[in-house]
Structure formats: structure tokens, C-alpha cells
């Protein structure tokens, strides 16, 4: 049984990426008046930049690896696979140089957090965007 379950998840891994064609929206608090290049977004999510242009503190909110929007974001914006990003963070964490962004489990949670904190930046499925946040890029 266990083996079949593993096999199924392997198959799912192979099939799922082809099914995702949703756009990823990069979102911030409506009061945040910035524009960011994909490279800059990537640097914030990799912990290389800790502030927005202009100096305000930037705190990225990640979604769990299992979310399809996370795979889209990793591929299109960071340009790395989930396992490459995982290896990158294990290097940073175990050298005591930082910790990965806080992870949440749904687009709704990201929306909720970002609509109430001007320091946060996150990404969600572009079709889920609501009024409480500002979209600064779609990929």
C-alpha cells in the first residue's frame, strides 16, 4: 500500500506541472507605493535584500511547496526548482545566516496577512486577487 502511495505521488509530480497555467500575482499592502523587477522580488524571497527600494523593511510570505502557485512562483520568478531552493535554504539555515520566509498554506492566508501589514510581500494565484491588496506584477 505504502509503495503504491509513493508511486502515486511520483506520478502526480510528473503530471501536475503540465496542468498549471495560472498566473502568479505579486502582491503588497495598498499603501506600499513601490515597483519591483522580478530580480528584486527574487532577492527579497531569497533573503538577499531585506528592504524595499527606499529603505522600508520587506518581509516575504511564502506558500508551502505543495501549493501549485509556489511551483509557478519558484519557476517563473526565482528561476529555481523547489528542491534547489530547499538546498539553498539548508545552506543558509545551518550556517546560522538566516531563516527562510514564513510559510502559509493558502492564497486566502496570504491575502489576509498582506492586507493588514505594509511590510509584507507575497504571491498568490492571480485569479484570487481581492480589493485589500495591490498587485505589483504578474508572471
Amino acid at each position: 500500500m505504502q509503495f503504491r502511495k509513493e508511486l502515486f505521488s511520483l506520478l502526480a509530480l510528473l503530471v501536475v506541472p503540465q496542468l498549471c497555467f495560472a498566473e502568479v500575482a505579486i502582491i503588497v499592502h495598498p499603501s506600499n507605493d513601490i515597483s519591483l523587477t522580478p530580480d528584486k522580488v527574487s532577492r527579497i524571497f531569497l533573503g538577499k535584500d531585506k528592504s524595499f527600494p527606499g529603505g522600508k523593511k520587506a518581509v516575504p510570505i511564502n506558500q508551502k511547496d505543495a501549493q501549485s502557485v509556489t511551483k509557478e512562483f519558484n519557476q517563473k520568478v526565482i528561476g529555481k526548482s523547489s528542491s534547489q531552493i530547499r538546498a539553498y535554504w539548508s545552506k543558509i539555515v545551518f550556517t546560522g545566516k538566516g531563516s527562510p520566509p514564513k510559510e502559509v498554506t493558502s492564497d486566502a492566508e496570504v491575502l489576509n496577512l498582506i492586507s493588514s501589514d505594509p511590510n509584507l510581500i507575497g504571491y498568490i494565484d492571480a485569479s484570487k486577487v481581492s480589493g485589500g491588496v495591490k498587485v505589483i506584477g504578474k508572471y
Binding site: 505504502q2 509503495f3 526548482s81 523547489s82 538546498a87 545551518f94 546560522g96 527562510p100
Partner: protein, 366 residues
Amino acid sequence: MKTVRFAAPLLISLASFNVFSAELNLSGFGTLAFGSVIDGDGYIAEYPNLGVYEDDYDFGQETRLGLQGTAVFNDEISGTVQLMTRANNDFDIEVEWLYVTYQYSSDANIQAGRMRMPVYYYSDFMDVGFAFPWVRIPADTYSLDVTNFNGIKSNWNFSTGSTDMGLSIYLGKEDNPSDELMSYLFESFTSNIDREFEDIIGVVFDLSYQNFIFRTTFTQADMIEQQALLFDPFAATVEYDIEFIDYFFQYSFENGISLMTEYNEYDPFYKSYFASVVYQKDAWQYYFFWSQFDLDLPFEKHDTTGIGFRYDIGDGVALKADLSSMNDEGFIPVDGGPNIPNPVYHADDDGDGDVMVLTLALDFVF
């Protein structure tokens, strides 16, 4: 499949708890490694903790588990502890690191306590198999007997555009009573070697720009060595002024190929270096490496050529295989006679030291 089942529940990323007012982040890493000598007598796979493969499938040389906890007291102060247990040290639980960090600005901090000696590029995460492509960091090159120190370290980061730079300066000392590696290497004339490293002072500079990484370190110290001589009732004390310098380069091409090389000189003892090519395609990485250890005196000289792969089974778990072949050229020079082979692995029957070893490993982080 059993090991996968065991690892799967550990795939929670960082667990966070609140203890009093501090936030505690827990994370961990581990490696299950099975090595087998297919040709020859023995292979030293890990020098600092003396992991030596001598037989068929041996689980007890490079298998290890680490747990790291960081208590974040506020935006400025945190405390970190790393505990490790290694099969080749009888699974004793050891405090690998224990330090406090004072983050006095967003780009600078100072750390005090017990930390890794950051002499090599991979020093800080050399035990975290998941963070690199090979089964092991090329062993000939990562052979320094001292890996941690007690002291202080000051770190600064600078960024201009997409160039990131870091500078660290560290000061401290380390005692290595009954130095396991040295006592093994020199067992023909000593029953025990104690080493003390005093007045350690070192500097690290690293730079990354797009797909390019460069890192260099320089360290000096006074080393006091106490040898318990087998043929002499008195212990001999020898003092050395040591200097260690290291260079590392890496370039990653867009097509998935990465090249990395590292070179170091440990004055007045040896030079060692390695080069590797890694090709990544989806969840697979394939690698080739060559590494060499070259003592200034003829007694120890060996190089290893290896191939292998890494397959990422899931987020946080990787399966690896490695086939390494070591060539041993160390010898004892004899005036007017033929030189006597002096392989680094001592119980070598034919004396040529050459060995081939196959290793399978499962690396995970949680």
C-alpha cells in the same frame, strides 16, 4: 522504501514554538550512508572524525544526525545550538555549536561562543549532505583536524546591485586533546597526540555575482602539539606557527552545468585541492570530481577520482550514489635503497593504498 517512509513525516519545514517570550526555531539534517570497499583494503572517507570504510556494506562511518535550535529573543539577540550524533563516534551526542548572535544592524552582526572554523567554502555546512551534490565533500581536500573553535566572529554584508559581498573576522582558540586523526596518522611513533590552537585569527571574504561565486579565507594560529612518544618516557612538545589560506570558485551555466574548484595551502604542512563538474536536470544531478592531498614531505600524497548522482526524491530528501577511486602515492624515502610505500590507510595488505569504494546515501533536512 522504508527509509522514505521514515523521512516523510519529517518534511515539516521549520517548526516554531514560543518558549516564554523567545521564539524557538528548530531544524535538523541527517545522512544515512552505506559504504562498501569493492577493491583494495580501506578508504578514509571522512578525515576530521576518522570515518574509514574497510569492509562490505558499512553503515557506521558517515551516518549522522544534527539538530539545530535558534532562540530568537528579539530583533537583535538570538542564541543557537547545534547538537550532532555521528555513527563513527559511537552516536555520542555532541554540542557542535553554541553561540549567541547580536544583530546590531541589518547588515552586520557579532557572534560569540562555539562555532565552525569557516576555513573552507563548505565548512559551515559540510555535515549537511542535502546542501551539496556529492555523497561527501571531496575528502582529500576537507581533511583539517580542527573543525570548530571557541571565540568571537564579526560579520558584515554589502550589496551593490546584484553583487553580494561578505566579510568576517574571527578570533579564538581550540583544544583538541587526543586528536583522533593525528593519533591515527602518526601511530607508528606515538600513542597519542594532543593539539592546542592558540591565538587563532582569521578573515573570510566572499563575493557572488549572478551565477559566479568566489570565496577566500586566511587563518593563522599558534599550534602546540604534545606527542606521547612510544620509545621515550617523556612527551615531546612541538610548537608551530600555522597559516591556512583557501580559495573557492564556482560558476553555474544556464544549461544546468556547474563548475567548482577549491585550493588550499596549510603552511608548513600541505596543499590540497579539488575540482568538480555537476550537471543538473530536473530532480537529477550527475557529478564528476577529482581531489588531491599533497603533504610537503613525501610521506602522504593521495588523490581521488569519483563519479556519482543525486536524485531529489521529494522536498527535503535526496538519494545519492558515489563511486570513488583513490590512488595513494605516499612513501618513506630510504637513503640508497628503494622507498617504502606509506599508504594513508595503515592496515593495507599490499601496501599500495589504492582503493575503490561504492557509497549510497540518503540525505534529509527538516
